[in-house]
C-alpha cells in the first residue's frame, strides 16, 4: 500500500461511479457505472491496475474505496428487501462527487 496519495472521499460520502468503457483493462463493472453509492471504507492507495495490466508501474497509486449501494438502486426489478446492499471496491479515478 502506498499512502502518499491524498484521498478525496471519506466514509459516508455519497459518490457516483463514472461511466466509461475504455478498450483497455479496467476494474469497474458496467452494472455499477452511473449508480449512486456511499463510501463504506477507505483502504488507502494501491497501484493502478490500468497501468499494471500493460507492464506499467501502476503509479501514481490510486486511493481504493469499498463502496456500498442499495440493491434497489442497482437493479430496477430487485426482488429482495430494500435494505439489501452490494459492496464493491472501486479506485478513486472512477468516482465522481455529487
Amino acid at each position: 500500500m502506498a499512502s502518499s496519495t491524498t484521498a478525496r472521499y471519506r466514509p459516508g460520502d455519497q459518490v457516483r461511479i463514472r461511466v466509461g468503457t475504455p478498450p483497455t483493462h479496467f476494474r469497474t463493472p458496467e452494472y455499477v457505472q452511473g449508480k449512486l453509492g456511499r463510501i463504506d471504507t477507505l483502504y488507502g492507495a494501491f497501484k493502478n491496475p490500468e497501468s499494471l495490466a500493460y507492464g506499467g508501474d501502476g503509479l501514481p497509486a490510486q486511493p481504493l474505496y469499498r463502496v456500498e449501494f442499495a440493491q434497489t438502486d442497482l437493479w430496477q426489478n430487485y426482488s429482495g428487501p430494500a435494505t439489501d446492499t452490494l459492496l464493491i471496491d472501486i479506485y478513486e479515478h472512477w468516482l465522481e462527487s455529487i
Binding site: T24, H25, P29, E30, Y31, P49, L52, A53, Y54, G55
Partner: protein, 100 residues
C-alpha cells in the same frame, strides 16, 4: 454490451452447477505456472486478467478455466519475447510425436 468478462452485467438464468471438477495434473501445473511466472516478473495479476479479457466472446465462454489461463499466459510470454507462437507450435508437434 458489457465486456466478455464483466459477468455481473450479463443476464444469466442458467442454474448453478454445483458439481466439483477434480483438478487434472496439467491444470494443477498451469495454476502453479502462473505463480512461478509472477515470481519471475513475467506476469502480474492484471496482465493475466487483461489477456483473458481480450479473448472473443465465444472463446471466453467455451474454454474452461485453465484453458483460458493457458491461452493468456501464451499471450504474455509471446508479447514479452520469451518465446514465439511458432516455437510453441513446433514443440507441441514434437511432444505429440513423442506420445505416439
Amino acid at each position: 454490451m458489457p465486456k466478455v468478462h464483466d459477468r455481473g452485467s450479463w443476464p444469466n438464468d442458467d442454474p448453478i452447477d454445483h458439481s466439483e471438477h477434480e483438478m487434472e495434473e496439467w491444470e494443477r501445473k498451469v495454476d502453479a505456472l502462473s505463480s512461478v511466472l509472477g515470481e519471475k516478473g513475467l506476469k502480474n495479476t492484471d496482465q493475466l486478467r487483461r489477456a483473458i479479457e481480450s479473448l472473443d466472446l465465444k472463446t471466453y465462454e467455451s474454454l474452461s478455466y485453465y484453458e483460458k489461463w493457458t491461452a493468456a499466459m501464451e499471450t504474455l510470454l509471446v508479447e514479452q519475447g520469451v518465446m514465439t507462437t511458432a516455437e510453441i507450435d513446433a514443440k507441441m508437434s514434437e511432444l505429440e510425436r513423442g506420445q505416439k
